[in-house]
């Protein structure tokens, strides 16, 4: 990569890149550094620069997952079929449905929206612990391993119990993209709005409630909850005001540090106990992974389509954080810094308080308050949350790419740990898919299925539409959901 782009200035930074690459190729050909092999070091040609700009090959379709908890008012979500609907009620397909009130912010993009009713993830059912199981199951369709005795999280922990779940939908996509040429600098982003307290639900540890994105059964990916940290991750390695040489040198230094850290593996690991080795292995592997990411980095920033603008302010409130995260998520996709995003909204205890909506309690408590009045606090908060999700996807539809809008070239998937939150109903979830994956998925439909039709079937369909050759997902690995046109 560096040799292709070597400028007349030479650039000591580029020289550093060159030496970095030489070390990688040497390591690979000599078969050394198990870590490098374990990471599946790509062939040398994919380390070449991928040109960005007007002549670029359009990036593959993108995936944005949004997860929330404590259900939605289902009577405001389930579409009502309009008279004269040319859809087929026998197949449960609605073409002309009235946009449900909860989804009113999606009106401009209703033609790109698919609403699903009847899908379920029964792995999420566990009493006590319906959220402790429901939240992690939302995008993994896997049942979490209990970590505590069955009453609540303050009991003695079983020392032999390790936590474990399964890979999440977004990470299946990210791992597929990692095998393809022209990778992004950031394999995937995990965003959230707030850290929750370190408390679990039922026999399930906080680790399950705080993380929607799981790289593997034992590797959760913590969300960033500070928009400034997200901005840093997206843009600090690439100062648009700096020269290419300066940026390269800055990257090179980070790579040297990470290379040094990763190399310490051979000295520290032999001295450790086996549990500590398992933990430290993650540390060294992660160091090498970030180093490799930086090696494939390039100046994404600085062309017309990607303008970072000002960094977000600190100390933002809940509503401002939501908007900042949405704006940065769209910017990240626009800049092609990543193609996979998971956004975690309020889930159980990481909730906020909606005083700005004049609500009397947090969202989870409201879901159990049993207030069914037309403008109950639960309804108000749920509507507000869905409006924010609408903002995000509407904004994606405003980004014009050579072959369509960003939304048309992506898929957004929304799910919740419950449908009816008060009843902890995991069998009728409020699912929607928005966007078209470049026409690989029909849109504008209401698909109505029998109760507890496995949601993993839809996720497999979503993956296939995004170009991921999956034959099944989650614990059940059902056949893909056929979506008749």
């Amino acid at each position: 990569m560096s040799k292709v782009n070597a400028s007349s200035q030479g650039g000591f930074g580029l020289h550093r890149f060159g030496s970095r690459l030489d070390r990688y190729t040497r390591r690979r050909f000599l078969g050394g550094a198990g870590a490098a092999l374990m990471l599946g070091l790509p062939a040398l040609d994919v380390l070449r620069a991928r040109r960005v700009g007007a002549q670029a090959v359009p990036p593959p379709s993108r995936l944005v997952c949004v997860g929330a908890g404590s259900g939605v008012p289902m009577d405001e979500f389930v579409p009502k079929t309009l008279a004269g609907d040319p859809g087929d009620p026998r197949l449960g397909i609605g073409l002309n449905y009235e946009l449900p009130p909860l989804m009113k912010s999606f009106a401009p993009i209703q033609d790109k929206l698919n609403i699903f009713t009847g899908l379920g993830i029964d792995e999420g059912a566990h009493n006590p612990g319906d959220h402790g199981a429901g939240v992690p199951a939302m995008f993994t369709c896997a049942k979490p391993i209990p970590t505590h005795s069955n009453t609540n999280d303050q009991d003695y922990e079983d020392p032999g119990a390790a936590f474990g779940l399964g890979i999440s939908l977004d990470q299946v996509m990210a791992q597929h993209l990692a095998t393809q040429p022209g990778k992004t600098r950031i394999p995937s982003l995990q965003l959230g709005l707030r850290e929750g307290p370190s408390l679990g639900d039922g026999p399930f540890s906080p680790v399950y409630l705080k993380n929607l994105s799981w790289k593997s059964a034992t590797e959760p990916l913590s969300p960033l909850v500070d928009p400034r940290a997200l901005f840093d991750q997206l843009f600090s390695g690439f100062d648009p005001l700096a020269t290419a040489a300066e940026n390269a040198r800055r990257l090179g230094r980070s790579m040297s540090v990470l290379d040094y850290v990763a190399d310490e593996r051979e000295y520290l690991m032999p001295a450790l106990s086996s549990v500590d080795q398992q933990r430290m292995d993650q540390y060294f592997t992660a160091a090498r992974e970030v180093e490799l990411r930086l090696a494939t980095a390039q100046a994404e920033v600085g062309h017309a389509a990607c303008d970072p603008g000002a960094a977000p302010a600190g100390g933002l409130g809940y509503a401002e954080t939501m908007q900042a995260m949405s704006d940065l998520a769209v910017l990240a996709l626009q800049c092609d810094a990543t193609r996979v995003i998971m956004l975690q909204l309020s889930c159980y205890r990481n909730d906020s308080h909606y005083g700005f909506l004049n609500a009397s309690d947090n969202h989870h408590s409201l879901s159990h308050a049993g207030d069914d009045s037309p403008d109950s606090d639960y309804r108000k908060v749920s509507r507000w949350m869905m409006d924010q999700v609408g903002y995000l996807f509407n904004k994606m539809d405003q980004i014009v790419e050579p072959d369509g809008t960003l939304l048309q070239n992506s898929l957004g998937v929304f799910n919740n740990d419950c449908g009816n939150g008060g009843a902890h109903d995991h069998l009728n979830l409020p699912v929607f898919v928005v966007g078209g994956a470049r026409g690989n998925i029909v849109t504008g439909r209401h698909f109505s299925y029998p109760t507890n039709t496995p949601c993993d079937a839809l996720y497999t369909t979503v993956l296939n539409a995004l170009g991921v050759p999956a034959t099944g997902f989650g614990a059940k690995r059902s056949a893909p959901l056929a979506l008749p046109a």
Partner: protein
């Protein structure tokens, strides 16, 4: 479950009663062995002195996974190490935590985002350090114009503090190799040193408190070395790195001596940095971080501001710290006769005006309870946003003070409750809390458990949802009388507090929470016997429990052996 022990015996005074719930259709519980057998706990004795560590034939201890910094520990550590005012950990991936504390090591998995954050944090810290003459002087005390020699000398001075142990020449050599990559890119000696320092702060030797076993495959416990023990001690009591004096004691190699260890515990507890015990341990144990998002409805409670809630958190922290540092007893957690007030709090509580700054104030002769049960923080966090919740308060006492959390209703029962919710809500407008909960006493599916939970919570009805005293609710005089699960009666919250202060489960529960925080893991079966020895009675000073914990086998020793994360 685990084999029985005295802790379990005392808990089962309540659990046996709660287990009565299990016979009814509704309740769901995990208690399966209410039987009590087993011998006297080892190692009990003394009142607050260091108990000699009885190692003998290898006393089994549990095993934790190597511990990484929490946000608080990282920020404290870099401040102590560099003199920085930056707090890079604020934007690190979150502390997942477990068992109520952020510092649980089990869930501290590592993925790429962590390394991006740690490397970025190190970069920011070193960049800022070299722009500040005071910080730079700590890092460089030779002339960098001499090149490698000064780079190496600076690293040899820095690394033992940063990694909290002596370093091998080979480790310094490798760090010089990192510096050399900067030299190869044309960087100055200063830039080379900066790069090496960034590497030092991104290294697992900095980010983790590495502890080694002579035989990593053996599960026989062995003593920590002095440096490892020093780190355990300082991170327990200060949530930060050892200071120079603790390092020099560790360098003597005798920190495991009972007398030396006892001196250091006393010294660290007396240091101002020991405020971490209340700001981190107690604040997390009592869940004070929930206060900002707990927002009582403004039209019902217009006087509750963020500043007042901050004052409430401070009241609780100051109280706990005072108990700790003045030899206050465990019983005083709920039985003290004083608290800490500023003017905002004294006004809120309806007491004689206090000074603008916090001072210790006696509550004798007032209608306030002493101890945490009288704190606005606890009373508010155990309430709803418009009214009190006796169920929340009762469950809170059982769970957080006695470590005997009540069982949760079964799914079927929850359906019934939700179905009845509308009717209950309609009645709610005019009923007192006690009347509102009458169904709990009448319906056999509820009574079994709620007769144990509700009376405790109802005892506090004299304190409203924001912790203010009241005699009446909805025009009815408050009846705060009730009985404990074992039948002991009380007339009001004051009498209940006295009973709780004398309950052995209180002391055992605090010991268990301290263990969990100090070791970064909940106690396992092998640890129970060690916890039993930490508290002789609730007359013990809290400081003595901490001291005994430090002197205990699980704290001073570790083991390797097979195990899964």
């Amino acid at each position: 479950m685990e084999k029985s022990s005295p802790i379990r015996r005392q808990q089962f005074r309540y659990l046996a009663a709660l287990a009565g719930c299990l016979g009814l259709v509704g309740c769901n519980g995990g208690f399966d062995d209410a039987g009590a057998n087993g011998g006297a706990p080892p190692g009990t004795g003394g009142t607050g002195t260091m108990v000699p560590s009885v190692v003998g034939p290898a006393q089994a201890i549990g095993q934790g996974v190597v511990r990484r910094f929490t946000h608080i520990e990282y920020n404290n550590t870099v401040r102590a190490l560099l003199g920085t005012t930056l707090t890079p950990a604020d934007s690190f991936p979150g502390d997942v935590g477990a068992d109520g504390f952020d510092n649980a090591s089990g869930p501290q998995t590592v993925v790429a985002n962590h390394l991006t954050a740690f490397e970025g944090g190190a970069d920011k810290l070193i960049e800022a350090a070299f722009l500040d003459p005071a910080q730079r002087a700590r890092l460089v005390s030779c002339d960098l114009a001499s090149g490698n020699a000064c780079v190496r000398a600076s690293l040899e001075a820095f690394l033992p503090r940063a990694w909290r142990r002596p370093v091998q020449p080979a480790e310094v050599d490798r760090m010089m190799g990192l510096a050399a990559t900067e030299a190869a890119a044309g960087g100055s000696a200063e830039e080379q040193l900066q790069l090496a320092l960034r590497g030092a702060l991104t290294s697992p030797h900095f980010m983790y408190r590495v502890e080694l076993d002579p035989d990593p495959a053996s599960s026989v416990p062995h003593p920590l070395n002095s440096y490892e023990l020093a780190s355990r001690l300082s991170y327990f009591l200060w949530s930060s790195m050892p200071d120079d004096e603790l390092f020099s004691v560790a360098a003597q190699g005798n920190l495991q001596d009972d007398a030396v260890l006892g001196q250091q515990v006393s010294r660290l507890l007396a240091d101002s940095k020991a405020v971490a015990v209340s700001e981190v341990f107690a604040a997390q144990w009592l869940q004070l971080s929930k206060l900002p998002i707990h927002q009582p409805k403004a039209d019902v409670f217009p006087t509750i501001t963020e500043a007042l809630k901050t004052s409430m958190a401070e009241e609780t922290q100051l109280f706990f710290q005072d108990l700790l540092q003045t030899g206050g007893a465990l019983r005083s957690l709920v039985g003290a006769s004083y608290t800490f007030l500023n003017s905002a709090l004294s006004e809120h509580y309806g007491l004689a005006p206090s000074s603008a700054d916090f001072t210790r104030v006696s509550v004798d002769g007032t209608n306030r309870l002493g101890g945490v049960l009288g704190h606005g923080s606890v009373l508010m966090l155990t309430s709803g946003l418009t009214k009190t919740s006796a169920v929340k308060r009762g469950a809170w006492v059982l769970d957080n003070l006695l470590c005997t959390p009540p069982p949760v209703p079964s799914a079927d029962l929850m359906d019934e409750i939700l179905a009845k919710q509308d009717a209950l809500e309609a009645l709610d407008q005019n009923l007192t809390q006690r009347q509102f909960l009458a169904t709990h006493r009448v319906d056999p599916k509820c009574a079994g458990c709620h007769n144990l939970i509700d009376p405790i919570g109802l005892a506090f009805e004299n304190y409203d949802a924001v912790g203010r005293y009241r005699d009446m609710e909805h025009g009815v005089a408050i009846d705060a009388a009730g009985a404990l699960p074992d039948g002991t009666p009380f007339q009001n919250s004051r009498e209940l507090a006295t009973l709780l202060a004398a309950n052995p489960s209180l002391g055992q529960c605090v010991a268990k929470r301290l263990f969990t925080f100090a070791l970064g893991r909940a106690p396992g079966a092998e640890d129970e016997a060690h916890i039993a020895g930490l508290v002789a009675s609730n007359e013990d000073a809290i400081a003595s429990v901490l001291t005994k914990l430090v002197s205990s086998t699980p704290f001073r020793n570790r083991r390797g052996g097979q195990g899964a994360l």
